[in-house]
Structure formats: C-alpha cells, structure tokens
Amino acid sequence: MPARSTELPLQEIGRSRPRGRTRALLAGHGRYLDDLDLPRQVHGAFLRSPVPAARIDRLDVTAARTAPGVVAVFTWDDLRAVCRPWRTVSAAFPGLQSPEQTPLAAGRVTAVGEPIALVVAASRALAEDAIELIDFAWTEQPAVGVASEALAPGAPLVHPELGSNLAWQFDAAAGDVDAAFAAAALVVEERFVFGRHTGVPLETRGILAAFDRSEARLTVWASHQMPHQLQLHLADLLDLPMSRVEVTAMDVGGGFGIKMHVYPDEIAICAAARLLARPVKFVADRLESLTSDVHAREHVIDAKLAVDGDGRLLAIDAKGLQGIGSHSVFPRSSTVETLMAMRTLGAPYALAAARAHADVVFQNKAMTGQYRSVGHPIACAVTEALVERAAALRGEDSLALRRRNYLEPGDDGCRTALGLELFDFSHAACLERLEAMLDVAGLRAQIAAARQRGEIQGLGFAAFVEMTASGSEIYGKAGVPVSAADTVQVAIEPDGSIKASASLSEIGQGITEGLIQVLADAVGVAPERIALEMGRTASGPHGGGAWASRGAAIGGEAAWQAGRALRGQVLEAAGALLQMPADTLDLVAGWVVDASGERRIEVAELARMVHFRGHEFPAGTAPQFQVAHHHRRAGDPTIPTNGIQAAWVSICRDTGLVRCLKHWVVHDCGRMLNPLLVTEQVRGGVVQGLGAALFEHCRYDAQANFLDGSLADYLVPMATEMPDIEVGHVETAYRGSVLGAKGAGEAGTCAASAAVLNAVNDALRAAGGTSIATLPLTPPLVLAALEGGSSG
C-alpha cells in the first residue's frame, strides 16, 4: 500500500489558488483557436442538411467553384481520396449496431445540420456566399423523431442497411426482483421523461489544419478536450503515421464533453487541408454548434422502487429508452450514456435486487454523446425522485429514509446491486455536513411560514454516486483506443525552474494549477518556478486529456510520481557532491537541506552544474534531472465519489415559474488539490444541472426538424436566475493512490437537476398539486401540475 496521504509533506496541495491563466483570460489575452491565423490560410463553411432525412438527388457544385474567392468545393466524392469513413465499434456494447459515417454526406442525410459539402474560400463570408450557389436537390424521406416511435412496426429506418433502429440494448439484473416487489409494503413508480440538451461551451468547436506536402505532415490546432486522441484518429482516418500528425489545443473555452468526439466537419477540414496543402480554418457558429455538437440525455424511463414496512429499500426496476440521434458517436459510442444511466440507478442505496433494461435507438436527429456527468443525472433523478416519494408516502423525513438505506462500503468496499464497485465512501458524513450547513429544521420552519403566507416553496434533496477517473479497463477492454493513463514529464532548467509537460488538457477547469501545486510539493520548489505545458502532441506525452473528471486522480498522481522521482535525482546529485547519504537530505523551497534543516546547496546551483559544469560532479555521477512518469491505475476500473445536494425553490402561483432560492452541495472527491477550483467546478456543474432542470432543451418537432437554433430559443442558465450555491466538502482519500484524489468535475451536474425536481415536487405536494417527472420543468408544466390538471 502506498504511503497514506495524511503523511505527505504538503505546502501547496490543498491550498486555494486562482488559476494561473485567470488574469490573462480576463484581460482578453487568451489565445483561442480563432485567434490563430496562418499565412495562406483559407476558410471552410459547410452546406448542411436543412431536413432530417433525405436522399440526395443532385449535388452540383460547379457554380460554387467559380464564385468569387472560392478556392475549392468538396463533396464526399472528393474527400474519399484522402480520408476513410469510420464506424463506432466497441466491445463494451455487445451487439451495437453502428452505421458507417463519412465526413460529408454520402448520398443521403440523416439529421438536420449534417454536413453535405464543404466550400473553402478566402473568407468565411465568401464561402457562405458560394454555398448559396450549390445546386442541391433532394427527396425528403420519412424521419424518426420521437424515440418511442423508433421501434414501432413500420417505422421509417434511419439506416435502412441496419434493418432496424435499435442500436443497442442494456440488460442487467441481480437478486429476485419480482419477489422483492411482491413482498413490498410500498411500491412507488413513475414514468420519467428527460429532454435533450447540450453543452454550449462559450468557445464553439473550431479547427485549423495545415498540410505540408514536402514532409507529408498534418499540423492541426483544435479547440479540443483531448488533442492526443484527435491526433490518433486523424492519423488513422487520413492514413498518416502519428509521427506526421500533430495537434495543439491552445486556450479552450469550455468542453463539457462536447469537444471529445470525432466530428465529420472537423475531419472534412483536415482532409481539405491535405488536398489543398493550405491551412484551412473552420469555427462553428452558434447555429452550427446547436445543431451539430453532440446533444445529451433524451431518455424515457419507467421505474419503480420497492420498500418494506420498516422503510427499507428492497429493489429497483427500470425500463429505459434513449434516442441517440443519427449515429453512435465515434469513437466512444453514444451508448455510454444509457450504460451509466442504468448502472448508477439506486447506487447510493443497499438494494437486495435490481433490474434494468434499456433500448437505445437511432433517430433523425443530431448525434448524442458524452456530456458532463454522463448518464448519472438521469439515474440520480429517477432514484431520488422515487426515494422522496416513498418517504412522503411513508410520512417520514426523506433524509432519515436515506440514512437508513445508504450503502456504506466499509473498509473492504462493496458492489451495488447493478454492479458498481464502491469504496472509500462517506454518505453518512456528507449528510451530516449538509444538515449542519442547511439547519434543516430551521429551514423547514421558514418554508412552513412562507407557505402560511401563501407562497409555494419546496425543499428537495438528492444523494448521488458519481463514477470518475475511468481506468484502462473501461475503453481498453472494449478495444477502443482511448488512453486512460497520463504521463507527466519534468526537467530542471539551468536556473532551477521546472519545465513540465503533461498529457492532460486544460479546458478552463483549472487542472494546470492543481498539477503545478502537486509538482511544487513533490519536488520541493515554489509553484512560481514551475512551467507546465499541456495540449501539444508534438512536445507532450500521449495520454488521456480531459474527460471523466480524471485530471486530479490520474494526472495528479502522475505528477506526484514524476516530481518525487525528480526530487530523488536532485538529492542523489547533492549527496554525491556533499558526500552525504541522499536519504539524510531534503528539498525545501528550492534548496537542498540537511537533517538539521540547514541549507546546503540551491537546486539552481545543481542545475547549472548539470547543464554547464557536469565535469565537477564526482566520477561516475551523471545526474539526469529529468523524469517521465506514466501513471496507469491498477485495479479499480473507476473511482467512485459520493455526495448529496439540496435545492430550495419557490414557485410562482400564477405563472408556474420556478425560482431557485438556494442550492447546497456536499461532495467527497477525496483529497482536494485546490479547494477553490474544486468548489468552482462544483458550482459550474450545478449551474449546468439547473439548466437541465429548468431551461435547456434541444427541441425537435415530431418530424425531427430542429427548433432551437439560437441562444434566444435555447435557454442557457444566466447569472440572474442562479441561486447562491453553497459547497461543503468531505475528504475521504482514495486509498489506491498516494495523493488520494478522486474526480471532482462532474458531481455538481450529477444531482442538481434531481434536487430541483424533488424541491419542486415538495412544493407542489404542499400546495395540493400533482407531481412532475419531466425535465426541463417548463412554466406551463409546473402551472398545470399546480392546478392538478393538464397544461393548456
């Protein structure tokens, strides 16, 4: 077992520090993708499908090719010379049906916004002018919009060659579910409906690709969460060795899971750059983002929960349906969402039995994909809504019901009924902390007084389990080339500064600062003396990037190990020079000190010797002063985290508008590298969860036409509507690592919408309304529930 984290010499780890880039970003000195322009650069714009399903009858680009400023116009027939199609295949999803996907439409379109042709011109405006000259004729075909109609007999087929709209089915069961329900004193059940939404990063997707024919080298800049993964797929799809493909992510204005997939338009740009041997830039506009970024969620779940006469939860049984859009996103597959939504059902509780089945279907809509807290918020809302309803029907405090039923893994860990491995948990401690933060009794009295005044207020809770920091067992076993490891390289510069590079990605979450803090403590130098570069495949080691809340847990551990090894090299060199055993020396604030704490030699002096006066070291001593450490966690496929959230809402009696009065989170992400950044990650996550609960919705009509193509229609949560979000922490270290850090980036999103749903239903219950199980909670829906009838 590695050294327990409590024994670590910590100065910087655990300290709240703002992100190093904050000042530059706020001053407008950020360098985002669109800030980069190259000589001879041209701009790409896409003709995109205006209809959900159609056969392309004619695609004549002749007139567009001669339009002013146009350099080239490409269709799939042009690009296929340098680019191959792809298909999502993953052994994690046995039986996954998956159509071939091409960067530009191959004869037909399957969703609004699908790219059909690419115009490359001297400016984006000229490219858009030329798009209007493309002679495009199509025959519209029946489309699948509503997921529940996708499997109906005679339903149109999104991909006729697959013979069915069924992409994949999930099935899991444990224990005797039917017996549990037969024996239950209380069964609560509900049909839950979750709308689609999307990530809406402030900086939209963008890519700039340049191809040098003399070296056959593709150089790409992309606003991306994982440049290393993109490099690998570009090499594969464009048939180049990875040594001839480099990808750089500069400042990235948010990802949320949107910027981690292979997008047809981005591949088309790289193929065009290769054909033209000129830099081609494409930055998605907001309309393109809303139509073609991966969407998320869209589930219908029928679920029921069995409770015995003593208020013990017995079993959960769920049947789900997810509409994933036109394709299962490459390379990870859109089905991960359903996998996690089903697997994490009931996860906070000790259940003797559980059963989950889900159908995942294709539709003529935008692809869905992994979005912050993949699948978890769905399971959380289903589970926690049923738990609150059970408590209400039993006439007891829902927190008491939770406390009675929490699954606390203890020292040996345990598995949930649906197979999640849990360990190092703190449900009871988080609940205790939350109760202290809220003063539950006082708050309930306040709400009762408000109700007396005629106000409609409610308080809702949601306990959660969020699986983080996936290991290589997840994608590696599935045969999908996704790195779950990270490498950190460190070297000492001649003045004693540390030059580091890491395979992680900075997308605004602040992991750069956390890793610098780890390196500072691991080596024994001030954070200001460390420069850490990430996001460049050309100079950085291959690794995972930003997904699954993995930065601190995996990257942090790699940084610690790399830093410790470098420190060891410094002490070895100092020991050789000072004729003292290295293990009697320490490295503190850039100095080698002896056992008495006396400063013996500065790291900078040793570094100058290594770089310029190596001959002064004793014979046989050749300090390297550089280390690369590759960290792959052994054993645990994921690191589970836990916590609880609470929401306090009021409902406007005559409009149905829901106002969030306050929101609380207590989260256990193990050791926090930087509490400030963890807290802000949680807050940002909560805001996205509140967006899912109240505002955000990618709506399509029944014929699968997209309705929300602007930010006037697609409602992102704004500061004016957000409540104060109070965040508390419990730190139960992960025992499988030295630092003990777990994932922190997604917990806020995981349970926020569930807590609001429960709070709204608590308010509705007190006001004599019916309950709601549909997100987002639109004002007409809430008003109708308040009045106990149907919406008008």
């Binding site: 704004m718 007409p780 008003l783």
Partner: protein
Amino acid sequence: MKPAPFAYTAPTELEGALALLREHGDEAAVLAGGQSLMPLLALRMTAPKVLVDINRIEPLRAVGHGGDGLRFGALVRHAEALRAVRDQVGPAHLLAQALPHVAHQAIRHRGTVCGSLALADPAAELPACAVCLEAEIELQGASGRRFVPADAFFEGVYATARSVDELVVGVRFPATAPGTRFGFVEVARRHGDYAILGLASWARVVDGEVADCRLVYFGADERPSVATRTARTLRGGRLDDPATRARAKECALDELTIAPDATYGEGYKRRLAGALLERVVAQWGVAG
C-alpha cells in the same frame, strides 16, 4: 454565419439617408443600434443590398422633454432613454419600468428605442409602451414628415406603417394627465428575454376608483394588443374590489387573441393574461 454582401453607406445628413432610402427602397436596411439587424444579417434571414448606417446623423441623438412629454430621436439608445426617464413623472414613469426588461445592459447600450419600434417584434416591450402611452412615431420621407399614432403604426410581425422610403426619426410620448398611475409587468423565464407575455398599462384612480385606464398586452398576438373591453370592465370599479378584478380577468382571458405558440400554448398564455392584469392593478394601487 456571415452576412450576404451589401453596400455600406453612412450619411452624415438626414437628407442623405432619405435619398438612399428613396433610391433603394426595400433593398435598403437602416442600421441604428444593430442589435436585431446584425443577427438577422448574419443568419442571412435578411439580405439587403444597401445598409444605411444612420449613426453619424447627429440631430437624431436628441432627447427632448416638454412638460411631462418626451421625445426620443432615432439614435437614442435604450440606456440613454433609461437615464432620461429615471425618477421622472408622466410617460417616463412607465418607460422607466419597462426599459430594464429590454434585453441586457450591453444590448441596451447599443440598441435604440426607435429601432425597437421600427422592428415591431410583437413580444418586445417598447411597442406595447408606445401603444399604451399613445405615442406618435415620427416618419420622414420624400414627401415630408408625418406623425403616425403608435396604434396605427404596428401592423403585424415585423410589419409597420413605415413605407420603404421613410425613416423613423423619432418618437413622441405625450404628457399624461397629472396623477396617472402606471403598471408594467412581463413574464420571461430569464431576465432580459423576450416576454412570454407582458402588459403595459396606465390608470387614473380617483378615491380608489378606476376613472380611466388602458391595457396593452405584448407577446400575445402579432402586434401589441389593446384590451379595450377589459379596460372598460375596470372603469368605475374599485381597485380593492376583488369582484371587479375577477370580472376584468375573465374579460381579458376572453378578449385576447393569442397567436399560435408552440412553446407556451394558448391556454397557458390566457392564464398569464389574467395573472398580469392582477399584478398591474396591484401596481396602480401603490404607484403614484
């Protein structure tokens, strides 16, 4: 998302702008604050051949006070208008309630009052205020200047009485009778959004009794909706009489024409109409 090609002109004299409008007719678009026009151009939902930027025509910046009346030239930004009407009486009082609901600060610093009127979005605040206050829209064209009552100016969704060779050069809000009370409410899911439904109103209240009032809904139909019958129902009633208010609410529900709305539905909007009425009547009770 880039505009189709257009010619850009920026005349410094009103005559120059009018000449351009005369020459290009419906192929010209007027640029003032650009807060609606620029997105429409970028999305290629409109593609004028000529853009007439009026921002250099200095006289159009004028803000005028006369008695309790107000006049805003075509280049008066929402933010400037808001500064001009704060803590003022008369029509300014209603505008001071309405203007903070117009989008967000950054947009209010560029967008203009007259631009909002000229665009005639049926869910916008200012057209309803103009109709409520019986403002006059000043139109200048080849044949001179004419004053169109707001109620006649708004013809439909993005449709007004302005002919293509005319420019909205200003708007005049006449003085209201001393003691007039104002009420303004709107329902939006996020502050700054276009309203799902809103209501601009004034009332003259004598000894707790509604002597006269005017109610103009927005976001209901294709143009601001003057609720004449509902106003009549309130007239002569007491502010604190629940029966009067209930009658008026019922009348409003019935009187309003609701244009089809896929998101919020007619039934929901009718219910809002009653709720908004209740709120403005409450505002009349406290506002001086």
